[in-house]
């Protein structure tokens, strides 16, 4: 069986090798970036195949930090959800690496790129495999750092540099929540080994459980771009598109969902925490879906779509259906990374990200168009694609638990289908509106698209196996499935039909909806508000402390200094310059000391 240490260490070693080898042999060394992902997928698949008999082999824990009263341990093991995540991360990362061979072929900084992808794989598998919350937190921060470095990959572009910082800082707000969750759990349980912490949940006070759960959720909301910490994800699209597919669609942003699944007993024990998760998830799912509708940048449509779909997952978690949420995480990873890679192919072949400048790409890029079509159908939740099954599970759980939230999610699904088919028609139908001649991407980019399309089409069949493995309930809720299919189908048709006329339909809709359209197009100004608030408090803090420093504190010191100079002048008319004064002072001090020492020492 593939040892877990290899899954963790190999991609780090690979990253170092690729970086050290540099630009010359990168055409060969970049293949090494596949080692980590393939090992991860392999290790996960092996363990899943074994799952009936044995759940995970715990690696030996290592004491990372030791005190007399307790030690902080880290270790790795693969239980079923970790194994599933390993496969997800491994498969998506492999496809992204292969796709990047073509997408990044012209880039001069390929060694840095592939090294960072490999490092990200290591960090992400570490997050998944960690047996302790400390290890998880370490990996959690490291995936964030890799995300920062990859969003800012084209760092000479000021917008990319800014987006990278924004992503890091907004998620860090969440990370502080996670840090204090750890501090609280350490104080209350004396351990940070995940299993031990969770075993201690029944002994904790309800208030402690709720506080810890909410703090964990703050961390999850930052990483998974939940309202109001979602503002970083659209900007993160500044990174290379394959990076968006891997980090900002399939894996890192899903880490929040994974975290809640991993610490589920805490949430199970706190109704308040689950209610908060449900509300935030639902608000995010619906809000982001409305914002996705009027976006004209194909990557921003996908970014808001990702935020919205993560909202679906959190809503399911809030409704208590973590298995449904986790299932949606898996299918979403497949179809959303597919959509991002396809959009990368579109950008590569058409030279633009603007839907208004596209059109007619279906003829020019048949493979990209076909795979994209599978992706949007899955995203829209049309049967029998993967998204249909997982979204049905989410809708069912939320509808039963809280009909109001369920209704909101139905509206969000309708919008999802609408914006999916709007974007599809704008990009692939009609005639090309941009400059130049769009062309299909090379084979090395088409193969990953096809592989992911097959997964996005067929993963739904896994829903029974999934439920059996994780102990959730399986099977379609027929009324919900029928209703959601009708709603999604009609919205998809509406999106497709309305945009027959191309981008002009935007204006008609904007005219009909007025302020609502504009507000959604501007993401309701939340981003602007958050950024203005952050900038103002930043400036405020800096100025206030600057004033305190220069006026009050230094004023006092200058007063003392002035006094000292006066005294010095009185005493030392013969000597000039301050250094003599101090030398004299020190000399006097030394004499004083020597006599004191002699007196005391006797």
């Amino acid at each position: 069986m593939m040892p877990l240490w290899f899954v963790l260490v190999a991609p780090i070693a690979v990253a170092l090798v690729i970086a050290a080898a540099g630009r010359g042999p990168v055409r060969y060394t970049r293949w090494l970036a596949l080692v980590g992902p393939v090992a991860a997928a392999w290790a996960g698949a092996e363990r899943l195949a074994d799952a009936g008999r044995e759940t995970g082999v715990a690696a030996e824990a290592v004491s990372w930090f030791v005190t007399q009263t307790g030690s902080i341990d880290v270790g790795a093991s693969a239980d079923p959800i970790a194994s599933i995540m390993l496969v997800v991360v491994g498969v998506v990362a492999s496809m992204v690496v292969v796709f990047s061979f073509g997408y990044m072929a012209e880039d001069a900084s390929q060694p840095r790129y592939f090294a960072l992808l490999s490092a990200f794989t290591a960090a992400m598998t570490g997050l998944v495999l960690s047996t302790s919350l400390v290890g998880l937190f370490i990996a959690w921060e490291l995936v964030g750092a890799c995300s920062y470095l990859l969003i800012g990959f084209w760092f000479t572009k000021p917008s990319a540099a800014r987006a990278a910082v924004k992503a890091f800082l907004v998620t860090r707000v969440g990370d502080v929540g996670l840090l204090f969750a750890l501090a609280l759990l350490w104080r209350e349980t004396g351990t940070l080994v995940t299993a031990d912490v969770l075993a201690a949940v029944p002994t904790l006070a309800p208030a402690t459980i709720t506080t810890a759960a909410l703090l964990l959720f703050v961390g999850a909301a930052g990483k998974s771009a939940q309202f109001p910490l979602h503002v970083w994800l659209p900007d993160a699209m500044e990174g290379p598109t394959p990076v968006s597919a891997l980090i900002h669609a399939a894996t890192m942003v899903a880490a929040g969902v994974f975290l809640l699944a991993r610490t589920w007993p805490l949430f199970e024990a706190s109704e308040t925490a689950r209610l908060v998760v449900l509300i935030i998830g639902t608000v995010t799912a619906l809000g982001a879906a409305t914002i996705a509708v009027p976006q004209t940048d194909i990557k921003r449509v996908l970014a808001y779509s990702t935020i919205s779909q993560l909202g679906f997952m959190f809503a399911a978690l809030g409704a208590g259906a973590w298995v449904a949420a986790f299932f949606h995480l898996v299918t979403h990873a497949a179809f959303k990374s597919l959509l991002f890679l396809a959009s990368g192919s579109v950008i590569h072949g058409s030279g633009t990200q603007d839907l208004r400048e596209m059109g007619g790409l279906g003829r020019a890029m048949p493979v990209t168009a076909a795979t994209w079509a599978v992706g949007v159908a899955a995203l829209a939740g049309l049967p029998p694609l993967a998204g249909f099954f997982s979204k049905d599970a989410v809708l069912d759980a939320v509808w039963v638990h809280a009909p109001v939230a369920g209704a909101a999610l139905f509206i969000a699904s309708a919008l999802t289908a609408f914006y999916s088919f709007r974007a599809t028609r704008l990009a692939f139908s009609g005639t090309f509106r941009g400059a130049g001649h769009p062309h299909e991407s090379p084979l090395v980019m088409k193969v990953p698209l096809v592989v992911l399309a097959v997964l996005a089409a067929t993963l739904g069949a896994g829903s029974w196996w999934f439920a059996e493995l994780l102990g959730g309930h399986a099977g379609l809720a027929i009324p919900i499935a029928v209703a959601s299919t009708i709603i999604a189908g009609l919205s998809a048709v509406a999106g497709w039909a309305l945009y027959k006329t191309g981008p002009a339909a935007d204006d008609r809709l904007a005219g009909a909806l007025g302020g609502l359209w504009r507000a959604a197009a501007g993401a309701y100004g939340i981003d602007a508000l958050v950024m203005r608030g952050a900038a103002a408090s930043e400036r405020g803090a800096a100025t206030a402390s600057e004033r305190f420093d220069t006026r009050l504190v230094d004023g006092l010191v200058r007063g003392i200094a002035w006094l000292a100079r006066r005294v010095g002048r009185e005493f030392n008319e013969l000597q000039s310059g301050e250094s003599q004064l101090y030398a004299a002072l020190v000399g006097a001090g030394a004499v004083l000391l020597a006599s004191l020492a002699l007196w005391l020492g006797r």
Binding site: W64, A161, V165, D175, V557, V586, L593
Partner: protein
């Protein structure tokens, strides 16, 4: 005897260098040899302590005069001595091309001897003498080799720390008188009578807290840092700041445990204020060196918070924080100094796109920055983590305020990276003296020799903090039970 060598070697180097240091080559060789020798002895001491876990002691006695050079090395002092010896080499290498090199190296080595003296002193008077002796070379380094405002900065540095030490001296004298056991510091000193502890504690704190420094006693630090030559900044941030925290652990906790326990919430508050305030100030800086200086205030805030918790975890966090900050701030000051040598400006706005023009410098700067903001896997994280967790355990959700500082640390660090490393290289303006950005050259072999080992240590300590904590464990554990047994 080995302990005495730790002071004697740099001191001898200082004397020789002052006498024959006219020749640049000779001064370099002597300084390098002395600092390497000191580091070698430090490594021996480390090894000896690591294998026996018994404190090393040394005593020099003279007939009639009693003993007056009492030294000891335990888990609290060994890591800091090693850090000092390491940064001593770095500082020597970083001042390879200064003017009047003989005197410069002499002062640097004298400084190293004095700081090691502070960390090894097993005698209250020796502690004080070494403490004051640190001031003198530092004062002259700033005054003699500093930048435009060096006189102001040197004086401010002197007044602050001297005023603090004067009060500390009174505190030490009281300690000796009230303790009634002479000036020697046994391995586990007896606390003085509870009634006088508060007075003594705060007198000592006056000197110790200025040195750390805690807000609002910190304003000497940015000025001193900005004006000091690179080697001065490295030693100042790297080891001088640790003297204050060391003093709290070495003297305040064992001699005045009740007063320490009573003052712990105040110390914790000062720590948290430092974390937030230092970060907020760093965010507003345009001078790269000043930014790093304020970040030191924030980092030392974590150290104070860890100390204040009085638990073993917190003390370990403080120790890790000190060692990590020594490495990271040392590296950052070195990098900023190297940049200043080339561009003759430290204005953040004057740079941009160094990731393209100076890739080696930029890569190391990004690593150091990530370490500075506390990224796990690098040395800054374990100490911060332990301090916050321990502080939370003792003081509760008040400590969450430090979370603001954690976010701000990301903000000021990455702002600097964005403005200096990222962006278009074309945006690099010609510095004041007309030097063209094309003339900037990347780090050379000597500079890589300084930076790469520091990076390696930063990574190693980040992955495996027990490199330091295992050495410190026994001493800090005993200290924690002292701080913890108090009613």
């Amino acid at each position: 005897m080995t302990l005495a060598l730790l002071i004697a070697i740099p001191l001898a180097g200082a004397l020789v260098s002052a006498v024959v240091g006219r020749s640049t080559a000779v001064a370099r060789i002597i300084a390098l040899a002395a600092s390497l020798g000191t580091a070698g002895v430090a490594a021996v001491v480390w090894q000896a302590y690591a294998s026996s876990a018994e404190a090393l002691t040394y005593e020099f006695t003279m007939d009639g005069a009693g003993s007056f050079l009492r030294l000891a090395a335990d888990g609290l002092s060994v890591p800091l001595v090693a850090l000092t010896a390491l940064l001593g080499i770095i500082a020597v290498l970083a001042s390879w091309n200064v003017e009047r090199i003989g005197t410069h190296m002499s002062l640097l080595l004298a400084l190293e001897a004095a700081v090691i003296g502070v960390f090894l002193a097993a005698d209250l008077i020796l502690f004080y003498v070494a403490w004051e002796a640190v001031l003198i070379p530092m004062f002259f380094l700033i005054g003699g080799w500093g930048h435009e405002n060096r006189r102001y900065a040197a004086m401010k540095f002197f007044i602050y720390t001297f005023a603090g030490s004067a009060l500390m001296l009174v505190g030490l004298v009281l300690l000796v008188v009230l303790g009634g056991t002479g000036t020697g510091m046994p391995a586990t000193p007896l606390p003085i009578e509870p009634a006088s502890q508060t007075l003594v504690f705060w007198l000592l704190a006056a000197g110790l807290l200025v040195k750390i420094p805690v807000v609002p006693l910190h304003t000497w630090l940015p000025d001193a840092h900005v004006e000091a030559p690179t080697a001065g900044s490295i030693m100042l941030a790297g080891v001088l700041l640790k003297m204050g925290a060391y003093g709290i652990a070495r003297i305040s906790i064992p001699y005045t445990p009740d007063a320490f326990a009573a003052a712990a919430p105040i110390l914790a508050a000062l720590g948290v204020i430092g974390i937030v305030y230092g970060a907020a100030m760093a965010l507003g800086q345009c001078d790269l060196k000043r930014l790093v200086a304020y970040s030191s205030v924030a980092h030392m805030g974590f150290v104070v918070l860890g100390l204040a918790s009085g638990t073993e975890l917190g003390l370990q966090g403080a120790m890790l924080g000190m060692v990590s900050h020594g490495l990271v701030a040392g590296l950052l000051f070195f990098l900023v100094g190297a940049l200043y040598e080339r561009a003759h400006t430290r204005d953040i706005g004057a740079f941009g796109g160094l990731g393209v023009t100076l890739p080696r410098w930029a890569t190391i700067f990004v690593v150091a920055s990530l370490a500075s903001l506390g990224l796990p896997g690098l040395s800054g994280f374990p100490g911060e983590f332990a301090s916050v967790v321990a502080g939370f355990g003792r003081f509760g959700f008040v400590i969450a305020v430090a979370g603001i500082g954690i976010v701000l640390a990301g903000a000021y660090t990455l702002r600097a990276v964005r403005l200096v490393v990222h962006g278009e290289p074309a945006a690099t303006q010609a510095p004041a003296d007309g030097l063209q950005p094309a003339a900037l050259r990347d780090l050379d072999a000597r500079e890589l020799l300084i930076a790469v080992p520091l990076v390696a240590l930063i990574v190693a300590l980040g992955i495996w903090p027990r490199l330091v904590t295992d050495i410190a464990a026994a001493t800090l554990g005993a200290l924690a039970s002292l701080a913890g047994t108090v009613s």
